[in-house]
Amino acid sequence: MTTEIKLPFDKDNVRSFSKEMSEPAWFEEFRLKAFESFEQLPMPRPDKTRIDKWNFTQFTQHTVNSTAYASLAELPEEVKALVDIDAEHKNLYIQHNQTPAFISLSEELKSKGVIFTDIFTAAREHSDQLKKYYMTQAINADEHRLTALNAALVNGGVFLYIPKNVEIAEPIQAVYIHDDAEANLFNHVIVVAEDNSSVTYVENYISTMEVSTTVANILAEVIVNANAKVTFGAVDTLAKGITTYVNRRGVVGRDGRIEWALGLMNEGNTISENTTNLIGDGSYGDTKTVVVGRGEQTQNFTTKIVHFGKNSEGYILKHGVMKDSATSIFNGIGKIEHGASKSNAEQESRVLMLSEKARGDANPALLIDEDDVTAGHAASVGRVDNVQLYYLMSRGIPKKEAERLVIHGFLAPVVNQLPIEGVKKQLTEVIERKVR
């Protein structure tokens, strides 16, 4: 059986969109090749969640026109809260639906050769650097239908490039604002940290409207070269009705480090993949994820760390809270390839259920093809502990507040990892709103 896929345009539209964005020939070719192949490719198969009825491929609009922001004063209030408006040197990208709406990079970083720009400008002005990393090392266009679709239709995203030996202390921030009920997002983020560099990148996907029946297809590729360090923070708060596929993948070279802190707070059905490939010897990957599910939404979160390099270390920590009739699958995979001796794969998944109808499954897996390694996993699914509540209440704290403390405490280990104060605060507020 084949699924009929109706797209709002054909190959000619892809070509003319590419022309309109003045993309280099290789980029246009890449789109067209992906466009030709995507229908034949299978859908991704997230373990234990059936997505054959989910809509990832049918939508009416590929592009919508949104305004740019002349100054940050024009930003919606929700977004203002996320960024440090008063900061003198801002390293900030704001995308309004698909429109690059604001960009700022300090002179100091520019002079060091740091590139931070929207994906279209990157294709035009930094074509060689982009080409080297664009779907070549982390994610391949032909992995499945949704990666190909992203490659064909990419209509947003950012390119962040840190040259050798450049260490950036202050975080670099991107905010993707969704406020158009017709806007479908095919976003592609590329972060490259060359040898001995370090950077913190934090992204927000935020809907400022309540409901939208659209598609979000988000890819992030993070290339961490030798002895480089990337801290990648994200808070996703896309609206109810948006079907999201989000794939964030890192590739880590010798002695490189990647640390993920992900707050996955979408209101709609979501498939999230977060994979770290520890290629180099001595490479290190740490993934911390918090999730809150509510309403009727179904979500699948796969976190995977694959060890190729010797002495590589991978840590997965996931905490989820499920309420109402929300369903979530938490797949955690630690894989140690043959030859990755002296590696260590650890993972922990905890799910807290707040209602009888909520469902949460934690599926930890360790796949080990090497003898000389260490590995461990822990998983639990449970309810708020009555004895804990009793203890808190015995000090005068009302039950509601006691529950709030326990739930916040449950998610705090990840929330506290987020490197931007405004984003941390936002995530705390989102959690507050969602679990209330």
């Binding site: 009793y390 203890y391 808190l392 015995s394 000090r395 704290i397 403390l405 326990v406 405490g409």
Partner: protein, 261 residues
Amino acid sequence: MAGSTLTIKDLHVEIEGKEILKGVNLEIKGGEIHAIMGPNGTGKSTLSSAIMGHPKYEVTSGNITLDGENVLEMEVDERARAGLFLAMQYPSEINGVTNADFLRSALNSRLGEGNEISLMKFIRKMDKQMEFLEMDLDMAQRYLNEGFSGGEKKRNEILQLMMLQPKIAILDEIDSGLDIDALKVVSKGINEMRGEDFGCLIITHYQRLLDYITPDHVHVMMQGRIVKSGGPELAQRLEAEGYDWIKHELGIEDETVGHEA
């Protein structure tokens, strides 16, 4: 203003269908320190849990009042705000909630909306009490009881006691698992609380704690009842002679409860 009065009348308590307390009578007034002693399994901890309202314990008859108010009709948090405090034998560990955040929530819940303590004032108060109890100030930012040693947990219970200033406190085996230095510190905290407005019920196996805190009244619990009461000399005699003489005097063979059910 004189202190409060906690009155327990003919209290019967079950846990999972098993009757543990079989008619306890006790009155604790502000300014008094009571000690309940007795061997294991006689119902001492059940009494403290029932007073505080632990969800597992069911009061089947009798009543508890605080200054005439029916405690049994109150939720656990209402009991606390009415002025009761229980230092627990096994305090819960709560991940992700710092000791300071927890204590501030607890304090503010007593002060009520609009009267919250300012952060600076709170920190000063907490630091002062922690120094008094010879606690590492870092413990304010550690997660509540998580990874605390037995002694640290007990000190933390006393810290809460001193911060929250209840009218009536119950200390459930606050001395178990403490070395002598920790015992002295914990006793110092309790003695600091002593005064007309503070009533206290100390539950313990050992005379040891009572060397540092002299009780006004000593009670012995067996078979789910208070079987003997006296002054501080009773504790000393128990320390010297054990419990057998009481059992003999009262014709009790097995002092424990709940085994027969």
